[in-house]
């Protein structure tokens, strides 16, 4: 009896599996729904990073219908605003478990890390190849494709880009005795290297001495960890990467000058003592209400200040706040700004557990249109990524975006190198130690060099 049951099982189970397979094949041939998930890190004014996919799916479904394909694309767009580390950790764990999204929106520096791990797939072998794939991709600024390039392949589609200006209070400068002409000329002077970081320190000291701003309110840098600080390393002649050797670089002299600058801001009294770590809310509240003379931030914060701190009063910002590149540390050297393009990456079948990668890339193309991208750019004050946006009225009508677009001519990117996380954390720790006076700039540099050599070995060049 037992043997008979076993025999029946052996016959029936494969038959059921075979029948199931046939049904699956039949399903494939008929109408089917493809669900594409998109993850983005975004706050309430940046929701289009994820919601762009929902809009794009409507366009894609119309096209598929016209082509007579019985496929319906459904998008699951998910955005949240945790710290970057947590966001990346969540993706890494999900992708490794085969439960990642189909599209992940993140910083371009993730390309080498996630490509090496096999979480994301290459999209093309060259810029010209990806531009030929869809007309929407041809519209993307050529230089932006570099942000998604690693080891000669394109791994990502740009989502947005930005600049990180030195903001200044126009009204406080006027109180200090600057004429309207002098204030209006400041961005150009910074651009041309005529107004340096030393000039900024001196102006801020004077403003404090004359009671225009309170002590410690002359210059506020970003209160927390972030790439912004490296702008001063670059301002003093530093650079991060040697593309020919594919190695990270540390220029000791520039690093020491940058660390000395950070310390000088504190010792000269223009930045408060023990300032790093200030709550973001306190920082936004203070700078957006015109209480600081100079501060460095990002253009996307303009929208944040307007919506979340000034009840939509953008006129207050235009009246009081000016913006320029980051001043150089060397007289005559041009100002600079860091751009950190966010990019969309397509996950591998293994990382997402889904097929239909072609459809995912096609959806990405539909997300890369001037109509959809401008909604994000204007609402969140990020710079556009498409050539056609520059003449697109809703984009052109944004005075702030028009004013800061020139900064892209002076921008630079962080390197796409898997050792960059280690490089950055070590350099950051050195900076905080120098700024807080725990180490002299020289001691901090020595410690940084030792650690970089130890942890990065052959991947680092010390200059």
């Amino acid at each position: 009896m037992k043997k008979l049951a076993l025999l029946l099982a052996l016959l029936v189970i494969p038959a059921l599996i075979f029948a199931g397979g046939k049904q699956e094949a039949a399903k494939q041939a008929g109408p089917r729904t493809v669900t594409i998930t998109v993850w983005a890190r975004a706050n309430n004014v940046e929701h289009w990073r994820a919601d762009a996919a929902v809009e794009a799916a409507k366009l894609l479904n119309e096209e598929l219908k016209k082509e007579g394909k019985q496929i319906t694309v459904v998008v699951k767009a998910d955005y949240s605003n945790p710290p970057w580390g947590d966001y990346k950790k969540k993706f890494t764990m999900a992708a490794d478990a085969g439960e990642g999204p189909d599209i992940i929106c993140s910083g371009h520096e993730d390309v080498p890390v996630w490509a090496q791990a096999g979480y994301i797939m290459p999209l093309a072998n060259s810029v010209s190849e990806i531009q030929g794939m869809y007309p929407e991709f041809k519209d993307v600024f050529d230089s932006l494709w570099n942000a998604g390039m690693w080891h000669g392949k394109i791994w990502a589609v740009p989502q947005d880009t930005e600049a990180r200006p030195m903001f200044f209070s126009k009204t406080k400068l006027k109180e200090l005795g600057w004429s309207d002409k002098q204030i209006a000329e400041l961005p150009d002077k910074i651009k041309n290297g005529e107004f340096t970081l030393d000039d900024m320190i001196n102006t801020a000291k004077e403003a404090i001495a004359k009671g225009v701003v309170k002590p410690g309110y002359g210059y506020w840098h970003r209160p927390r960890k972030g790439g912004d600080f490296l702008q001063y390393y670059v301002s003093y002649g530093g650079y991060l990467y040697d593309p020919e050797q594919d190695k990270l670089v540390l220029v000791k002299d520039a690093l020491e000058k940058w660390y000395a600058f950070q310390r000088k801001c504190v010792t000269s009294g223009i930045t408060p003592k023990n300032y790093i770590g200030t709550e973001w809310k306190i920082w936004h509240d203070t700078v957006s209400h015109n209480k600081v003379l100079f501060w460095n931030g990002g253009i996307w914060q303009w929208a944040d200040w307007k919506v979340n701190y000034l009840n939509g009063d953008e006129d207050f910002l235009f009246k009081n706040v000016g913006y320029a590149l980051q001043p150089s540390g060397i007289r005559g050297k041009k100002g600079n700004t860091l751009s950190h393009p966010l990019v969309y990456m397509v996950t591998t079948e293994k990382a997402s557990g889904h097929k239909d990668r072609d459809l995912v890339i096609r959806l990405l193309a539909k997300m890369t249109t001037k109509e959809i991208n401008t909604k994000h750019a204007v609402e969140s004050t990020h710079l556009g990524i498409l050539k056609s946006q520059m003449d697109y009225k809703p984009y052109k009508d944004s005075k702030f975006l028009s004013d800061v677009t020139y900064m892209l001519n002076y921008n630079w990117y962080q390197p796409n190198h898997s050792g960059y996380s280690v490089w950055f954390d070590i350099v950051w720790n050195g900076m905080t130690a120098a700024e807080n006076g725990e180490k002299t700039p020289k001691e901090a540099v020595e410690s940084v060099v030792k650690q970089l050599k130890l942890e990065l070995g052959d991947s680092i060049i010390i200059k």
Binding site: G85, G118, K225, I276, G277, T432
Partner: protein
């Protein structure tokens, strides 16, 4: 006859296995939640596993991560900070303050004692993020911080952000106020369990409060003291969430466990160094085991668990 013999042997076997079934639930938990994670930690610490290798493309690198820890310029800094942080928090709060609260609240009226102990539980039952946010706004720079508003500015001193200015004190206070309640509960119940006749007899004999503490209470609660000291040492060594939320390791507050966490799971640009982070965690496991053994020898654990020679 044969059946009877078999039945007797089965009974003997089940008697011999009784201890096993009693211990089985806790053994299972220890294996699942201690031994397995330790084995995985030690295994991963011997690899170069990171976000860029994923869980599939890693390489076996033997003791390289441990060698790197040994010669890393930051190792002495993190190690010394951890020793200082654990020792100060343990002595002044998790054991010291806990003992003081227990002694005081068991020597005042029962209602008042209960009330004060309940107050001391508040930091523990408040969600970490809210609890730490309260500390942050206590020390925040003017015009936001309570310390600056109520004390520093009215007294004419220069306001500043007190969390970075007194970062070590803050991490001790934030953790100590939570940690004290654990020892408080254990010590209170131990003191309450001391036979009343002995407590009363000490008073009849003319012992002062301090003498009663020294010669009656402390000897009686030696076992809970061992337990709380050992448990809280290991707990302080490995817990970092309050520090993470308060300072994120900045201003010289990156204790060893937070260093491991940042390396393994949370650096800024996302290439997590799982191998190196796990090696850092494995070092903590080893230190924890060594400390556990030292404590047990110092407190004469063997004698404490012996059956009493006379009934008390």
């Amino acid at each position: 006859m044969k059946e009877k013999k078999e039945a007797t042997e089965t009974k003997k076997l089940s008697t011999r296995l009784e201890w096993f079934w009693f211990l089985f639930p806790s053994l299972l938990l220890i294996v699942l939640f201690f031994f397995l994670p330790v084995i995985i930690t030690i295994f991963v610490s011997g690899t170069n596993m990171s976000s860029s290798t994923g869980f599939n493309n890693w390489k076996w690198i033997g003791l390289d991560n441990y060698k790197m820890i040994a010669i890393h310029p930051e190792t002495p800094k993190h190690l010394w900070l951890t020793v200082k942080y654990v020792a100060v928090t343990l002595v002044f709060f998790n054991v010291g303050m806990a003992l003081v609260i227990s002694l005081i609240t068991t020597h005042i009226s029962q209602g008042a004692g209960f009330f004060f102990r309940a107050l001391w539980l508040l930091p523990r039952i408040t969600p970490t993020v809210i609890y730490v946010m309260m500390w942050k706004f206590l020390g925040a720079n003017a015009p936001y911080g309570v310390i600056n508003q109520l004390f520093v500015q009215p007294l004419g001193f220069t306001p500043q952000d007190w969390v970075p200015a007194a970062s070590f004190l803050f991490i001790v206070l934030v953790n100590g106020y939570i940690g004290a309640s654990f020892g408080m509960i254990i010590f209170t119940s131990a003191i309450e369990a001391i036979p009343k006749d002995i407590m009363i007899a000490s008073l009849v004999d003319g012992a002062s409060f301090m003498q009663r503490v020294r010669y009656v209470i402390l000897p009686y609660i030696k076992w809970p003291l061992l337990f709380v000291t050992t448990y809280q040492t290991l707990s302080l060594m490995t817990s970092f969430e309050q520090i993470l939320v308060l300072t994120n390791g900045e201003f010289n507050t990156e204790v060893w466990s937070l260093w491991a966490y940042h390396r393994a799971l949370n650096n800024y640009w996302g290439n997590f160094q799982w191998g190196f982070g796990n090696a850092l965690a494995a070092v903590l496991v080893v230190i924890g085991i060594i400390l556990g053994i030292i404590y047990m020898r110092y407190f004469k654990f063997g004698e404490l668990v012996q059956e009493p020679k006379i009934e008390t």
